[in-house]
Symmetry: C2
Subunit: 235 residues, 2 copies
């Protein structure tokens, strides 16, 4: 059994909507529900814990009870992403069968197109790494600019990857890495992969997918509807 932590702290400002992005409709259900359903389809997922902004706790709790099943719980999010993951892990520890060795896949609530293959690969990577992340080769050329005015470096495109989620690790390892940080480090290093890396862990890559998009801008929802309809046709 693995568990899944869905991180749903966004406020949706870039969508121009008055609801967080994960609450927007995707073909009849909120995005968050679609994301949870994608994990529930996988046989090894024993429990999903959604870390949600406290303002949305009641609504999301009612929604998951209506739309999903008893494998799904909701817990209030923390002050930032990693703090929300810590809350999710604290909740997870109360579940029967969860130990420090339990694998948790952490995932953006607004990436509803995670696949069984990505989940399989993430779990398998735990044989070799303390942490792994989904990523895809960068589609655009990437340049570096320190002043925002001129280019100071042209990194080799074939070595550049865009990070997606899931990001996967064992519960005990996260607690070990995170609890040793100062408040300053916590505020500076928001990327969990970088946290593990700084503590000397290799960070494994598993192949994401161009369709595993993060719904950020209104146009992303349009693309998401197309992806969703294709997916339904193929099932």
């Amino acid at each position: 059994m693995v568990i899944v932590g869905i991180v749903a702290g966004g406020t949706g400002s870039r969508m121009g909507a008055d609801r967080p992005k994960q609450m927007l409709d995707l073909c009849g259900k909120p995005v968050l529900i679609r994301t949870a359903q994608a994990f529930l389809r996988h046989s090894q997922v024993g429990h999903i814990i959604i870390g949600i902004h406290p303002d949305w706790y009641d609504e999301v709790k009612a929604l998951t009870e209506k739309e999903l099943d008893s494998r799904v719980s909701v817990t209030p999010g923390g002050s930032d992403r990693n703090d929300t993951v810590m809350n999710i892990i604290n909740y997870a520890k109360s579940i029967d069968g969860v130990s420090d060795d339990t694998i948790i896949l952490t995932h953006d609530a607004v990436r509803p197109f995670v696949t069984d293959r990505m989940i399989d690969d993430s779990i398998a990577a735990m044989d070799n790494y303390a942490i792994c992340t989904a990523a895809v080769p960068a589609t655009d050329t990437i340049v570096v600019s320190e002043n925002g005015q001129t280019v100071c470096d042209f990194p080799l495109r074939s070595t550049m990857y865009q990070v997606q989620t899931p990001q996967t690790f064992r519960i005990g390892d996260f607690v070990g890495v995170y609890s040793g940080l100062t408040e300053k480090e916590k505020s500076e290093i928001t990327d969990v992969c970088k946290l593990f890396y700084r503590k000397g862990h290799e960070v494994g890559l598993i192949m994401g997918d161009q369709k595993n998009i993060k719904l950020t801008y209104p146009a992303d929802l349009t693309a998401a509807r197309t992806f969703f309809e294709e997916q339904e046709e193929n099932q």
Copy 2:
């Protein structure tokens, strides 16, 4: 007067279509025509030259004659992107009023959402730089992997930019930079900004736009239709 070189060498394989991406329909006209129209709306654009794969030359020539006006010409593309730009420049030299100092904006045929503001900024940047490119801050976290298996660096996200087009320079400067290259260098350095950089030129950045997408995957066309309809409503 500035001129525009539209680079249209793609074969569309990633779109899963049997026509190059720039020939696919965007709300009633091929993408390439939409891109050219975006430049023709700008008062400083005197001429557009489309560099097209030789197999599509006749069809595109007929299409531009039907849909566009006498400011638009078509020339066969070369063996790679820079070679196509060279062909475009050789064609441009036959136009009245074009000299080594003439500014050329080079642009992907499959980016139909270039704006007047980007064109203005590109021309203005020529006061300070020999070359400039449109770019946007990277939306995803970028990591570096040399082996494709593990992460070897976490560059600072705030310094990472995704390159778009237009990429703008003076005709004479391009010829100077490009004609001095060996065949090996030509095949290795496909990025024109990197070419200029290697020759000691500063590369200026002008702000692109999240909507200035390169139509690469089928879902991009769906998003493009939404953008196009919004644009028409706002005009």
